[in-house]
Amino acid sequence: MNAGPILVFGEVEDGRAAPVSLELASQARRLSDAVVVLAYGSSTEGVDKAFASAGASAVHLAEHPVADRLIGPFAAAAMASLVGAVSPRAILIGATYTGRDVAGRLAVRARLGVIANVIDLMDKDGRLVALNTIFGATQIVESGFTSSSPGIFLVRPKSFEVAAHEGDVAVSRLEPPTDVQDSARIIESHSETSTGPGLEEAPVVVSGGRGLGDASNFALLTELARLTHGSVGASRAVVDAGWVPYSMQVGQTGKTVKPTVYIACGISGAMQHTVGMKGAKNIIAINRDQDAPIFKLADLGVVGDCLTVLPKVIEEIKARQQQG
């Protein structure tokens, strides 16, 4: 068994460590005392502290050399040089857009296999074993790499808690890679701004699907989210229909959320949707069809029309808050 350190890709965006990268540093620390993080981004000033307090024992800071180039190919080259230098036991990368770009190119450069959609990672008799789910999270697969070779685990965000860690950390700078075969240039960047807490951090997520009937009815969800300090999510059906931006999509090809309460309004509960919200501590579903699959997951299911139930819920909460 390879006893090397665990190498973590530390994605840095707008000068901040990506939450998933901190989650991975913490999980790596649970599995090993040697946690090497490559912190890669346009500005890495101070992110070593964030990674150290999440569990890193060594942080290599690498600044992205050209602002208008995509991060992925460059970070993959930097990761490959670290794989050569530290002979890791495993490589952990968060399954973000950039993370997937890094994983694919790194796999080729370092001749490493990739196990994707990982939701848990553990040590079993000295071997790292990854869990992922298939068939709409009805089956759990345990897999890993053959003992002679390390591999890349591409991990879904929110799979692990970040735990505070204190200990020594070695910080060094890594020269930006020069042998990158990618000439893509970013011409413009646009963000779809949203108000309130981010979907992945919000304690309450109010999500809408095709059952809302019309894009304008999302106003009800926005209002309920405002009253519960929550955030608004959506099914892919309504994102594809152009009602709301993709950044709101929950599910296999969207975000994974684990709020205290998930409120599904007019969502059927297709498995590609439920893999993204199954982890919620409590689930409320409102659906007109008593046989909708979403009710199998719901702690509280209401068979009814969300266009009549939601306005009443909003009204009652307002009444309570005025009394309170």
């Binding site: 997937r100 960047s189 931006p245 008593q290 209401v302 068979v303 009814g304 139930v309 009443k312």
Partner: protein, 257 residues
């Protein structure tokens, strides 16, 4: 502009999938199989580019011999010719192996200006083949495209990001991965379906590509597959006018209001 589109045949997702008990591989042999719906967006994007630039589209796939059917579908949509890499040694191939095989097939076919793929397969969804292909081919990569156009330095896309999108351009050669919903895949016309039967469709083996066992060996392994614990059924009520009150009570109990 010469364009190659990479496609995969997958088990029909409207039928519940099953694993083979001895190998933990997806049961594919006797189930209805289709062109991955995610790849239809890639085929459509490839055809649009070819129409705009007067180029030809080649579809490349790796799979069992019956994956011909998926390639015929791509041909019936308008793709000009197709290549299937099929070899018993490739059964259960991992993503990196898939990328090596596709890259070797693209090289053998004479190379290409643009490779178009989906973002991930609907059955396996590892989602790293496009990036691995770009690295193997020494190409730029334009990933997660919500739209694809010629122009700029070669190809310009709107790239999906976690918070919005970027406009990104790259010179040729380039690998472009296209998200579902990027376009409206065309339905094959009757003429297209008839025409597809006489379009060239070649089968290549690993030996034809000059790849040996080591290049396609997989370093990963499934140890076990178990059923996920089922969630206890919760409370289900019919809205008789009091359901809103019950929801508010529940939210109050959870201390979110």
């Amino acid at each position: 502009m010469n364009i190659t589109v990479c496609v995969k045949q997958i088990p029909d997702q409207s039928i519940p999938s099953e694993l083979l008990p001895d190998s933990w591989r997806l049961r594919r042999a006797d189930v209805n199989a289709v062109l991955d719906p995610g790849d239809e967006y890639a085929v459509e994007a490839a055809l649009k580019l070819a129409e705009a630039t007067g180029g030809e589209v080649t579809a490349v796939s790796m799979g069992p011999a019956r994956a011909d059917e998926a390639l015929r579908k791509a041909l019936s949509m308008g793709v000009h010719k197709a290549i299937l890499v099929t070899d018993d040694a490739l059964e259960g191939a991992a993503a990196l192996v898939t990328a090596r095989v596709l890259a070797a097939a693209i090289r053998k076919s004479g190379g290409t200006d643009v490779v178009i793929t989906g973002t991930e397969s609907t059955d396996g969804y590892t989602g790293v083949v496009p990036q691995a292909l770009a690295e193997l081919l020494g190409s730029s990569s334009l990933t997660f495209a919500k739209s694809v156009e010629t122009g700029g330095e070669g190809i310009t896309i709107h790239r999906q990001t976690d918070t919005g999108y970027q406009i990104v351009t790259a010179p040729l050669p380039v690998v472009v991965s296209v998200t579902a919903g990027a376009n409206q895949p065309r339905y094959p016309s009757l003429k297209g379906i008839m025409g597809a039967k006489s379009k060239p469709l070649e089968h290549w083996s690993l030996a034809d590509l000059g790849l040996d066992g080591e290049a396609v060996a997989s370093s990963q392994r499934v140890f076990s597959v178990v059923a996920a614990p089922e969630k206890q059924a919760g409370e289900l009520i019919s809205d008789d006018g009091t359901a809103a009150g019950r929801i508010v009570e529940f939210l109050a109990q959870l201390k979110v209001i």
